[in-house]
């Protein structure tokens, strides 16, 4: 059974600080996706990483896929209150039709 462990589960920091969220597994994934979910809504895709060692940037968000494609990280620079939300990582094995989700990181940025 493939599992994705996210850490931390909860993070509360001040505006302007940097943070990193981790997504780890003992399994290899063909691709890994990061989503953000607002209360009462479905997950919204932020980025997909597919190549080991890949780094993608989305404004102040930097996503990295581990060399062995077993882990990923999300780094936010100079966090803002608008970054507050639930961040989910999700992975798919080669040929698989299902995404395995991590339990999420609930991020709160205090003004």
């Amino acid at each position: 059974t493939q599992l994705l462990e996210q850490s931390p589960q909860f993070l509360s920091i001040q505006e302007g600080e940097n943070l990193t969220v981790y997504c780890n597994s003992s399994s290899v994934f063909s691709s890994l996706q990061w989503y953000r979910q607002e209360p009462g809504e479905g997950p919204v895709l932020l980025v997909t990483v597919v190549t080991g060692g890949e780094v993608k940037k989305l404004k102040r968000l930097t996503f990295q896929f581990g060399d062995a494609r077993k882990d990923s990280s999300l780094h936010i620079t100079a966090a803002q209150p608008g970054d507050t939300g639930l961040y989910l990582c999700a992975g798919a094995a080669t040929g698989a039709q299902k995404l395995v989700f991590g339990q999420g990181t609930r991020l709160t940025i205090n003004p």
Binding site: G42, V44, A96, Q97, K98
Partner: protein, 115 residues
């Protein structure tokens, strides 16, 4: 931007009743999915559907559940005899290619409450 739409947004039903949750995937997508999220827990895969048949399902997706694409646009999830533990948010998703090769686009969910 095209989006996945789900109806109803909230469904309340009594234990033992049948419910049908409806979804309209993005029109040029070929793969369709149902996921659920019990309050405070992970998003869990239920089933994937491609080329008018189930391509993968989880152990949660037992005989009480079925999916159908009755026409060219709708994708439905039926729960035959609901149980209290079926209470959850149910998300429909679609993608151009399979999940390993293509990002999923999710609807805003149906909150199912079984009393």
């Amino acid at each position: 931007e095209p989006e996945v739409t789900q109806t109803p947004s909230h469904q309340v039903t009594q234990m033992g009743q049948e419910v049908i949750l409806r979804c309209v995937p993005i029109s040029n997508h070929l793969y369709f999915y149902w996921y659920r999220q019990i309050l405070g827990q992970k998003v869990e895969f239920l089933v994937s559907f491609y080329n008018n048949e189930i391509s993968e399902k989880s152990e949660i997706f037992d005989d009480q559940f079925s999916v159908e694409r009755p026409d060219g646009s709708n994708f439905t999830l039926k729960i035959r005899s609901t149980k209290l533990e079926d209470s959850a948010m149910y998300f429909c998703a679609s993608s151009v290619q399979g999940a390993y090769n293509s990002p999923l686009h999710f609807g805003n969910g149906t909150r199912l409450t079984v009393t």
